[in-house]
């Protein structure tokens, strides 16, 4: 019996997985004895979605970019005819003897999947699938065979560090919460993945929701908590939907509620939807938001382990951290430390995006170099352009330049560059990206998302943003760089929470590695990357222009001349760099240089 699996995470659905699924469900219904159709979450190859896998015993064949038409072909030739279709659609095949082939075998073969062990494999809406894949064995072991102190010791021995960004040792965190006496303790899962450019938590929530529940139950046992919350952002409706299903199923099977699997331990949990505030990723702000208030951070100490949610001892971990826990409990701490580096054991999921050929999710051992991630797994830079930098850690992180591409990604090496590990977003940039503009982009984000509690974060980020906006308009002044550096230090020292303490990172790292670009904007009034609109020249590519006259009609200053069906020309003397011609051109003929 063959199994047809359609990838239906957010990435798959937006690429058109539903149409392929609908087509296949009609075909599969006619042959119930040959195959069964099921769905799964994201396997990580977002760039080849919609993905359809045909599984037959131990052999797995993946087809990418599946349309309803090619789905029909896959069904008739492969599912019914046992013939693997070797065309552009074939992305990866894995045979029972362990050999692999296909255009994307590098992408998957170089990965080690612990967190993503079930993503893209099981049906996230079925607890049987999860149990068949070894699910809830961690809960069984922890609740029936282990004492809380042994659970904590195992996590400590594994060296697991918080995957939300800061990398605090998870076992140590749990021991603090366990040590504090209290009638009521809480476990909170931070699923408020706010970094623009990071989507690994979304994929785990959508692809393997039970793993997070399992991690939380084990944590609850370890610290003595009886209730938990998953704080998930409202922008992830599919993740919330699948979590809801998972919680209902887990309750039915006795993994949640009173007397879990007959062990006498009680634990239940609830989903809280975020309402759109980046600062709520900070744990004390997250607690305030669950309590129904404005999500503003609180002063620490007291730390959450002592007085957290509702002033009770609370342990808060990120989605990816919790997803690691059941695996460590089942396989032991030593199996986990076999991966990664001495101080950063295990694996890390990265979200590759931007100007990289293979945008998607990749889980690699800690200590893998940026070069391996971008070039081997990521497949290099789009359109053969030059690699310029990777941005790590989102608005709290920084840009690591191309010449440092042999930097290993772990909790020691990345902070040394001035960036941070962050949650694992890795946005790849090519030669066309202006670093001053990127700094402006992130400051614009943090300035808007600052909750306003600390003066330096509230006003300091605005002053920095104003300076950066001036630079990108070509109105920079010689002392601006000094001002930016001074403000960076002040904001970092005078802010209460992680948002303010890290907000200047994008500016500091770009000044550190790309001072020349800043100087070019200030002194030469030029944007070397050709991105800042006010500092570039607009130009029509003669070969692409068809003479439709749309650009000339839309030009507010009549700077474009040309007759119908003839190549148009922009008069740069009159041009005010408004960009109307670019947005109105249907042929991509207007460019900047």
């Amino acid at each position: 019996m063959k199994k047809i699996v359609v990838g239906m995470g957010t990435c798959g659905l937006s690429a058109g997985a539903q149409a392929a699924y609908d087509k296949l469900s009609v075909l599969a219904a006619a042959h119930p004895d040959v195959c069964m159709l099921t769905r799964t979450g994201c396997i990580g190859m977002c760039y080849r979605e919609p993905l359809v896998e045909v599984r037959d015993g131990d052999s797995r064949v993946f087809y990418g970019g599946v349309t309803p038409e090619s789905a029909e072909e896959i069904f008739s030739k492969h599912v019914l005819g046992n013939e693997v279709i070797d065309n552009d659609n074939l992305v990866y095949a894995c045979w029972p003897d362990g050999s692999t082939c296909g255009s994307e075998s590098d992408f998957l073969d170089l990965q080690e999947r612990i967190v993503l062990r079930n993503c893209g494999t099981i049906n996230p809406e079925s607890i049987e699938d999860y149990e068949n894949a070894g699910g809830y064995q961690g809960v069984r072991k922890a609740l029936t065979e282990m004492t809380p102190s042994r659970i904590i010791q195992t996590i400590k021995d594994s060296g697991l560090r918080g995957r939300g960004g800061a990398g605090f040792p998870t076992g140590l965190k749990w021991s603090f919460a366990a040590a504090n006496e209290g009638e009521q303790k809480y476990v909170v899962c931070n699923a408020d993945e706010g970094d623009p450019g990071a989507f690994m938590d979304r994929s785990v929530l959508e692809g393997d929701p039970h793993a997070i529940l399992e991690g939380m139950i084990i944590c609850a046992k370890a610290i003595g908590a009886t209730f938990g919350y998953i704080y998930c952002r409202a922008e992830y409706p599919l993740a919330i939907h699948r979590l809801e299903i998972a919680i209902l199923e887990a309750r039915e099977r006795g993994y949640l509620g009173t007397n879990i699997i007959g062990s006498g331990f009680d634990f239940d949990l609830k989903i809280k939807q975020g309402a759109g505030a980046f600062v709520c990723g900070e744990e004390t702000a997250l607690f305030a938001s669950i309590e129904g208030e404005r999500g503003m951070p609180r002063i620490r100490p007291p730390f959450p382990a002592e007085k957290g949610l509702w002033q009770k001892p609370t342990n808060n971990n990120n989605v990816e951290t919790f997803a690691n826990v059941p695996w460590i409990i089942c396989n032991g701490a030593e199996a986990y430390t076999a991966f990664g580096t001495e101080k950063s054991p295990g694996t890390k999921v990265f979200a590759l995006a931007g100007k990289v050929v293979h945008g998607g999710l990749a889980e690699v051992p800690m200590g893998t170099t940026i070069e391996d991630l971008v070039f081997k797994i990521g497949g290099g830079i789009k359109e053969g352009k030059e690699f310029k930098a990777v941005q790590m850690g989102g608005p709290s992180g920084g840009c690591i330049p191309a010449h440092m591409k042999d930097t290993p990604v772990d909790f020691e090496s990345i902070p040394a560059t001035g960036a941070i590990m962050g949650s694992g977003g890795m946005v790849v940039m090519d030669e066309d990206i202006c670093m001053v503009e990127i700094a402006r982009f992130f400051l614009d984000f943090t300035q808007k998302e600052s909750c306003g509690k600390c003066t330096f974060c509230r006003i300091g980020t605005l002053r920095m943003l104003e300076i950066l906006e001036r630079l990108t308009r070509g109105e920079g002044e010689p002392e601006d760089i000094d001002k930016l550096e001074k403000l960076s230090i002040q904001i970092k020292e005078a802010s209460l929470c992680g948002l303010g303490q890290t907000a200047p990172n994008p500016v500091q790292t770009t000044i550190r590695y790309y001072l020349d670009e800043y100087k070019a904007h200030i002194f030469d009034k030029k944007c070397p990357a050709g991105e800042c609109q006010a500092l570039v020249e607009f130009y029509i590519i003669p070969d692409k222009c068809v003479g439709c006259t749309l650009c000339a009609k839309n030009c507010p200053v009549d700077a474009i001349t040309g007759k119908v069906k003839e190549v148009h020309v922009i008069n740069i003397e009159t041009c005010v760099n408004c960009g109307k011609c670019i947005t109105s051109c249907n042929f991509g003929a207007v460019v900047t240089r």
């Binding site: 990435c11 659905l13 970094d195 623009p196 409706p237 939807q273 129904g292 995006a353 977003g425």
Partner: protein, 171 residues
Amino acid sequence: MKTAAKQENFNYRLWRYDGAPGELIPLLQSAQEHFGYIPRRAINYIAGVTAIPESDIYGVITFYSQFRLQPMGKYVIRVCAGTACHVSGAKLIRETVEDELGIEVDGTTEDGLFTLNTVACIGCCSLAPVIMVNNDTHGSLTPASVRKILRNYRKKASANTDSIAVTVESV
């Protein structure tokens, strides 16, 4: 969800309110789901039931980007402004939408058809640049393709004009 079900949900939540802390945000979320935005009367109503001062409720509403105090158009366009979209030309897409619809970010067209928002990240980074129109995601956009998408929505709306009107209902 049907409007009747949404209203039931909002009313039910208010009716069920037992003074337990932490209910304000879910209440506001169900109000917004029901009305499409949070009208003044919903704030009065929540304040009356929960005894939370209206000023505090207003404070919570304005803190979170999800909540809106103005009605929204039939189609809510959310242009992704995440890092991956930004480096792939999201600004150009936003400007094209602004130009095509004649509105700016956070604005609604006069006919009540479109509202334009930006969003920090939709999590479809590999399809950048991306926009969401209500719950549909459109990826790998160019100025020309985004104009085409918007015109299609406009066509779709004029084909069934009865449902264009912005719903402003009372509790």
